[in-house]
């Protein structure tokens, strides 16, 4: 399949590996950025339909050029740096949001062979990368030197740290079931003769819910968007940002959503595996499952009002963490019996 690459390989010599890796990174990040752009359109359209509106339909047929128009508009705008702010941190904060959201894609397997870095500790790497995203929010809130931004960043720091624990425990059950930290191995552990019944969503259903809801909280999406809270603290941590700096926060949020959708599909819904035994496994299944999870994200936003802050903390600490710890013990005991079929 890769024979036509051989002449280029010999031409480049030892420079081949870096060039090939950079090319693969571009092949992941390029479509990802396109998906982010069109996810914003999909969000406005889907929520529009749910609320019996039309959504954007002016730019291009069916509003299809709307993301490009939005991007162009943000690109032309001036980036204002507040005079009392810390300039270096103010500029670096949006980059800190986007960087981990992109870096985590290095270990995402698209099918049995297609993965940029097939590392053994892939799951840990993903957890570490997603936990770094909070720094962008904290630094943005602090460096802006604004009370609204600061409140947003404090809320977000507390929220992300709280939900990370429940999320980590949900993933502990997955790695117990798969007996591996390698994301590719986790998907292969869900292979079997019964299609969708072999997926970890069946034995680990409560953990699937905990993971999905924690994922919504981690990405600061409605109904857990207290870090932005338009009606309380007018967009929270990014209130002082404008132009492309603001757009980077936006890109980071949507890239994180897509990442979370892919991770949920890989951990619980069998990744690239086909839900029915008579159809072949393919990357299309993974994309379809990710789109379904993304639709859930949009659906939540259109349906639920924002959680009050103390309720949010209660849900994280007093509901999700006890449930997930108990389920770790239950799965551990279950796996010792002959009733464990996965």
């Amino acid at each position: 399949m890769m024979e036509w690459l051989e002449p280029i390989k010999t031409l480049l010599g030892s420079a081949w590996l870096p060039v090939w890796t950079v090319l693969k990174i571009v092949l992941i990040v390029g479509p990802l950025m396109g998906a982010v752009a069109y996810l914003t359109l999909a969000e406005r359209k889907v929520i529009g339909w749910m609320q019996i509106r039309i959504g954007p339909n002016r730019v291009g047929y069916f509003g299809l050029l709307q993301p490009l128009a939005d991007g162009l508009k943000l690109f032309m705008k001036e980036i204002i740096i507040p005079s009392g702010s810390n300039k270096f941190l103010f500029v670096i904060a949006p980059i800190m949001v986007l960087m981990p959201a992109l870096a985590a894609w290095a270990v995402i397997p698209f099918n049995a062979e297609l993965v940029l870095a097939n590392v053994n500790a892939g799951l840990l790497y993903v957890l570490a990368m997603t936990s770094l995203g909070v720094y962008g929010v904290i630094i943005a809130g602090w460096a802006s030197n604004s009370k609204y931004a600061f409140l947003g960043c404090l809320r977000s720091a507390a929220q992300i740290v709280s939900y990370e624990i429940a999320m980590g425990f949900a993933l502990v059950t997955v790695l117990m079931a798969a007996q591996s930290l390698n994301l590719g191995e986790i998907v292969k552990g869900q292979q079997g003769g019964y299609g969708a019944l072999n997926w970890y969503i069946v034995p680990l259903f409560p953990m699937f819910l905990v993971y999905l809801i924690s994922g919504v909280a981690e990405t600061n999406r409605a109904p857990f968007d207290v870090a932005e809270g338009e009606s309380e603290i007018v967009a929270g941590f990014h209130v002082e940002y404008s132009g492309m700096a603001f757009a980077l926060f936006f890109l980071g949020e949507y890239a994180n959503m897509i990442l979370m959708a892919f991770l949920t599909s890989i951990m619980f819904m069998g990744g690239w595996l086909s839900p029915v035994p008579f159809l072949p496994d393919s990357m299309i299944w993974l994309l379809g499952k990710a789109c379904f999870v993304l639709f859930l994200f949009l659906w939540f936003r259109a349906t639920f009002p924002r959680y009050r802050y103390d309720q949010l903390m209660r849900l994280g600490w007093k509901v999700f963490i006890p449930i997930s710890i108990i389920w770790v013990v239950v799965v551990g005991a279950w796996m010792q019996t002959s009733c464990w079929l996965w």
Binding site: N120, A121, L124, L127, A128, S131, L154, D310
Partner: protein, 202 residues
């Protein structure tokens, strides 16, 4: 110089510079951010030693959780720099003594001939899983020390929480269980009624 050497010197110099930054930064938030940088580059050095579990756990636990809470607290404090510097020269000899002791310890351990051959990483195959190996050791050979450490941490955690529990009278608080139990019918009554004035169509 191989790629690994270049990477090591890069990470090591960043770690040292960030460590110096932690000490000399005037703003405590900057100091905390330097500490984050120091942790990240230390994780890079551990990664070069093929200790991938430790490296990622360092980023996950210290950078992702501990330092976030640390920043959280530091940002909310109103720190007066002048007050902080008041006793500097009085405590300087004590600090210098501690620093000297730590330098001596490190030279003693790292410079001795007995530890010299331990310092090189053992080469493993591609399918070697650092995480699995650590888990196996922790739960077989070192299971009692591991469990005792866990119990001590648990006790410390319970104690820390118990310290903050002070019953005060006259404090207003919400009964969350009751709030959660509330149904739509308790609060809301939907009344259907015909519109009073028919729209006249002339």
């Amino acid at each position: 110089m191989s790629f690994v050497d270049v990477a090591f010197y890069l990470f090591a110099s960043i770690t040292v510079m960030a460590g110096v930054g932690v000490v000399i930064a005037r703003n405590p938030v900057h100091a905390a951010l330097y500490l984050v940088l120091a942790f990240c580059s230390a994780a890079g050095i551990w990664m070069l030693l093929e200790a991938e579990f430790l490296a990622i756990a360092l980023v996950l636990v210290y950078v992702g959780a501990v330092m976030v809470l640390f920043l959280f607290v530091v940002m909310m404090l109103d720190i007066n720099l002048l007050q902080l510097r008041e006793g500097f020269w009085r405590w300087f000899p004590f600090g210098a003594l501690l620093a000297g002791l730590m330098v001596f310890e490190m030279i003693w351990v790292l410079g001795s001939t007995q530890t010299a051959d331990v310092a090189t990483a053992v080469v493993h195959g591609a399918d070697y899983s650092n995480t699995k190996e650590l888990g196996r050791l922790l739960y077989t050979d070192y299971v009692y020390p591991f469990e005792i450490a866990a119990v001590i941490l648990l006790v410390a955690m319970v104690a820390a929480i118990a310290l903050t529990l002070r019953r005060r009278s006259g404090v207003k608080s919400q009964n969350v269980a009751e709030q959660v139990k509330a149904k739509k019918a308790d609060r809301l009554r939907i009344v259907k009624m015909p519109s009073e004035n028919k729209v006249s169509s002339k």
